[in-house]
């Protein structure tokens, strides 16, 4: 049975929660909107206010009653407090034996939220899956989330932009709140849903509700659900939308879209972030911070040397297809809870429900989304580097060096996995492991940006940060008993080098081995002594080609894909591909021509990895995260997006 608190007694609820040591956040009126800020007294609440919303429009209006929760949702969401716009992840401490990285912790008293709507509770559950439901967790989010007291308030009036009913996210609260309240006729009906909640309700001056009250609440929620201004109920929406990414509507919406990013930052579930290195003027204090980002910024769509979403069409496609389609494949639920914020706060009033409905009604051939992956739930932060020492530096070419690092104790890795290497205040970059033994780890790095230039300039004895290993490995066991063909371009040989060593060491378990390697010029060939050894050993047929020859070069000239045409390529072989995407595209086309099944081809993808642990969203590749699902993919898993603009 519910307990009934007069709205006039909200003061006591606020005082009680604050006296329990919580920092209480709730709705307040500021700058013409209802925003979430610290509450100190009931007078801070938007008593007697409501909101009117339309695409690109939000206005506050006076109500003709004194309801404290008589509005829907404003520009803020609770993610501002659970997942702040800017937060330090790692701090560097210098001194003693060298740099030490420390993971930052969540500071401050526990949070209490008053006025969480059903859709917002659903949004918090969505963010939980992304931020604390995977193999690595955002430990600061986790700390705040676990201590947070949630007092939900169900909506009994729907706004013109609400569609939580069609997303099964409201208006009835079904998520885990400590207290669920419903405001009716100048009183709040309170229902404790946890021990913490019960301990608060029992200290309030309430009267016992009755079955009539329960029926009134049910009726109000039912009427609210029926009065929603919008729906997003297209049957099989995630797959229908995913199947219509060639729809001309995407180009039309890109004409109107400002790509300003407002929709993503007001969205209560969007979690994509940039991660930046920081340092002060002395260089002594350095660290790394996470900042809210958006799939509409250029930074989010850049990988080194390329912009994978150079136009607004590609960025809008990423937003809508992630939110409504690939989110389901990534996390098992939609990324949309039907709050309508992205519609209200779009300066040009683009309506997600309208666009999604039009796209889903397209006549694209139905393409299934992959089923959500089962992932072990982990506990570690994963973003704190360990200091390691450079033992040896081997120059491979004018801009490529191999660093031999002291292997941290207990460190294990698979062939094809990568580490993040970092220099304080300079950067943190993903580098594949190019070799290892019991005492060492090798990384082969090309100087391209500030961080890699600094890393390639390190001398033996220098220290740098290492975290990892991350990502998937080359599936050597899947190749047992079959021929193996390795096709690599440029520095793509590095992520395969340790796999090649393993293949050679266990050569009798596999069929014939063949390596096709293309470099830009003879001077750009890496691991040349090892290559010569492979050629001379006769245990792996090794073919090297260069795009541009030199006076002394007597070998093959031409791109590596030319070699595929010249050499016999067994149909039953397992193919391992790594190199520039354009090279892999041509190689795949030739393998398809030779009727090699896609399930026998594996390739390593490169996207912009910042956190490397599946939290920042930068390396999304359609339904996949390159950092945790890749970088090595079986081709049939990504065949429908490989080479498609915007992915």
């Amino acid at each position: 049975m519910r307990e009934v608190l007069a709205t006039a007694d909200l003061e006591q609820l606020i005082a009680l929660v604050r006296a329990d040591g919580y920092r209480l956040i709730g709705p307040t009126v500021q700058d013409g909107a209802i925003v979430y800020d610290e509450l100190t007294a009931a007078r801070d609440l938007p008593i007697g206010w409501t909101d009117e919303q339309a695409p690109g429009r939000y206005r506050l209006r006076r109500r003709d009653d004194q309801a404290a929760f008589g509005y829907n949702v404003g520009p803020h969401s609770w993610k501002r407090h659970l997942y702040p716009p800017r937060e330090t992840l790692v701090q560097l401490r210098r001194g003693g034996a060298g740099p030490r990285w420390e993971g930052a912790r969540a500071e401050g008293p526990p949070l209490a939220f008053l006025g969480v709507r059903a859709c917002e509770l659903a949004a918090i559950a969505v963010q939980d899956k992304a931020l604390i439901g995977g193999p690595f967790v955002d430990v600061r989010y986790q700390a705040r989330r676990e201590r947070c007291l949630i007092i939900a308030v169900q909506c009994t009036e729907a706004g013109a932009l609400c569609f939580c009913d069609s997303m099964s996210a409201g208006p009835r609260v079904s998520g885990d709140a400590d207290i669920v309240a419903t405001e009716l006729d100048g009183a709040l009906a309170l229902e404790a849903r946890s021990e913490r909640g019960a301990a608060i309700v029992e200290r309030l001056p309430t009267r016992r509700g009755d079955a009539e009250l329960d029926a009134a609440i049910d009726g109000a929620l039912e009427r609210c659900a029926r009065s929603m201004g919008r729906t997003l109920a297209a049957a099989d929406l995630p797959a229908r939308l995913w199947s219509n990414l060639d729809h001309p509507r995407l180009a039309e919406v890109a004409e109107r879209c400002l790509a300003c990013g407002n929709c993503t930052l007001v969205c209560p579930t969007c979690f994509c972030a940039d991660i930046k290195d920081t340092s002060d003027l002395t260089g002594d204090a350095a660290g790394r911070e996470r900042v809210w980002d958006s799939c509409f910024t250029a930074g989010h769509s850049k990988i080194h040397g390329a912009d994978i979403r150079p136009d607004t069409r590609g960025r809008y496609q990423q937003w809508i297809s992630h939110k409504l389609s690939t989110w389901v494949a990534q996390f098992g639920s939609s990324g949309c809870v039907g709050c309508g914020r992205c519609i209200a706060w779009c300066p040009v009033g683009i309506d997600l429900t309208e666009e999604a409905t039009i796209l889903a009604a397209g006549d694209g051939e139905l393409r299934a989304l992959p089923a959500p992956r089962e992932r072990p739930r982990g506990e570690g932060d994963g973003q704190v580097p360990t200091p390691v020492t450079v033992l040896e530096v081997t120059r491979e070419t004018h801009d490529v060096v191999t660093l031999t690092l002291a292997r941290p104790p207990g460190y294990t890795h698979g062939h094809g996995q990568f580490n993040m290497l970092s220099l304080p205040g300079v950067g943190d970059v993903p580098i594949s492991i190019s070799g290892s033994d019991a005492q060492t780890l090798e990384h082969t790095v090309r100087a391209v940006g500030a961080a890699t230039t600094a890393i390639t300039a390190l001398a033996p004895g220098a220290q740098l940060g290492l975290r990892g290993p991350y990502g998937s490995s080359w599936p050597l066991d899947a190749a047992i008993g079959r021929p193996v063909v390795v096709i690599v371009g440029g520095l793509g040989l590095a992520p395969l080098r340790s796999a090649l060593r393993e293949l050679l060491a266990r050569a009798d378990e596999f069929g014939p081995l063949r390596l096709l390697y293309g470099a830009r010029s003879p001077d750009d060939i890496v691991f040349d002594r090892e290559l010569l050894g492979w050629i001379q050993s006769g245990r792996m047929r090794t073919h090297v080609t260069v795009d541009h020859g030199s006076r002394t070069w007597t070998g093959n000239i031409g791109v590596v894909t030319k070699l595929i045409r010249r050499k016999s390529m067994p149909r039953d072989a397992v193919y391992l591909l790594c190199g520039p995407e354009v090279m892999m595209r041509f190689a795949l086309a030739q393998l398809e021509h030779l009727e090699v099944p896609a399930a026998q081809v594996y390739l390593s993808m490169e996207r912009n990895m910042k956190c490397a642990v599946g939290l920042c969203g930068r390396c999304q590749y359609g339904p996949h995260f390159v950092c945790k699902d890749g970088p090595v993919f079986r081709y049939d898993q990504i065949a429908d997006i490989f080479g498609r603009p915007g992915f």
Partner: protein, 249 residues
């Protein structure tokens, strides 16, 4: 620190770094800073040069090339140096008429027909936008150059900073004209945070959809003259804003 055609406001931004000024002076040797010291050393070589102001006279062009030749990292600071500044309004008019109207002896005045950004004449390593520049961005560039990092100067919209800051959108709540969606971030959404629209002093962001914004402003009641003036202010000389303003003439 060098200046071309400018008001010195961006140089003042460095002096406004009151809490950090001693640390800056510890970290770098400031050898030429006309706004702060009359002891000048205009001959390099320099590791870093900050250039304020636009190119409006033939002499400035010569000086600029002289600076560039002896500088490793040239950083332009402010709307004048990066977009031509407010004085680029002359680019839309007859500068000879201005000279005749303003000066008693126009024959003594040697000036160019246009006000242009530094990058139109010499290569530039980094640009800091704004009228004036933002102190945090200036400190970020100096700190990053000291340690060898690529400075974080995001080319995203002002809206990104506005939303991170938690400010309420003035377009959506009060139909104000705001250039935030097409303007380069860096100010921390200063004006929207004080409930007024962005007037674009940081110039165009990466891929600004000025046409869609102009359509939206027109729908909210702005006339053609208003659109021309909105896009033609402190950074009206920047190509994206110039073209949009010309579309409504």
């Amino acid at each position: 620190m060098f200046k071309l055609a400018s008001c010195d406001g961006c140089q003042l931004t460095l002096l406004d770094c009151e809490d950090e000024l001693l640390a800056v002076a510890d970290a770098v040797d400031i050898v030429h800073f006309p706004e702060a010291s009359s002891r000048l050393a205009p001959d390099g070589p320099f590791d870093v040069v900050l250039v304020e102001g636009s190119v409006t006279t033939p002499d400035q062009l010569v000086e600029l090339r002289h600076i560039r030749a002896q500088t490793r990292a040239l950083v332009t600071i402010g709307a004048c140096a990066t977009a031509g500044g407010i004085q680029a309004l002359r680019n839309f008019a007859d500068h000879e008429a201005f000279i005749r109207a303003v000066y008693a002896r126009p024959e003594y005045i040697q000036t160019l027909a246009t006000s242009t950004p530094v990058a139109a004449h010499v290569p530039v390593e980094y640009e800091l936008r704004g009228c004036p520049i933002d102190k945090r961005q200036l400190l970020e560039v100096i700190s990053a150059l000291l340690v060898g990092r690529t400075p974080t100067i995001a080319d995203e919209s002002v809206c990104m900073e506005c939303k991170r800051r938690g400010a309420v959108c003035v377009v959506v709540t009060s139909d104000q004209a705001c250039l935030g969606p097409v303007t380069h971030a860096g100010c921390g959404a200063l004006c929207p945070a004080y409930a007024r629209g962005c007037y674009g002093c940081f110039g165009p962001r990466e891929r600004p959809n000025t046409a869609a914004l102009a359509d939206a402003l027109a729908r909210r009641g702005m006339d053609r003259g208003g659109l021309v003036r909105t896009f033609r202010l402190f950074t009206g000389g920047a190509p994206a804003f110039r073209k949009e303003s010309e579309r409504h003439e």
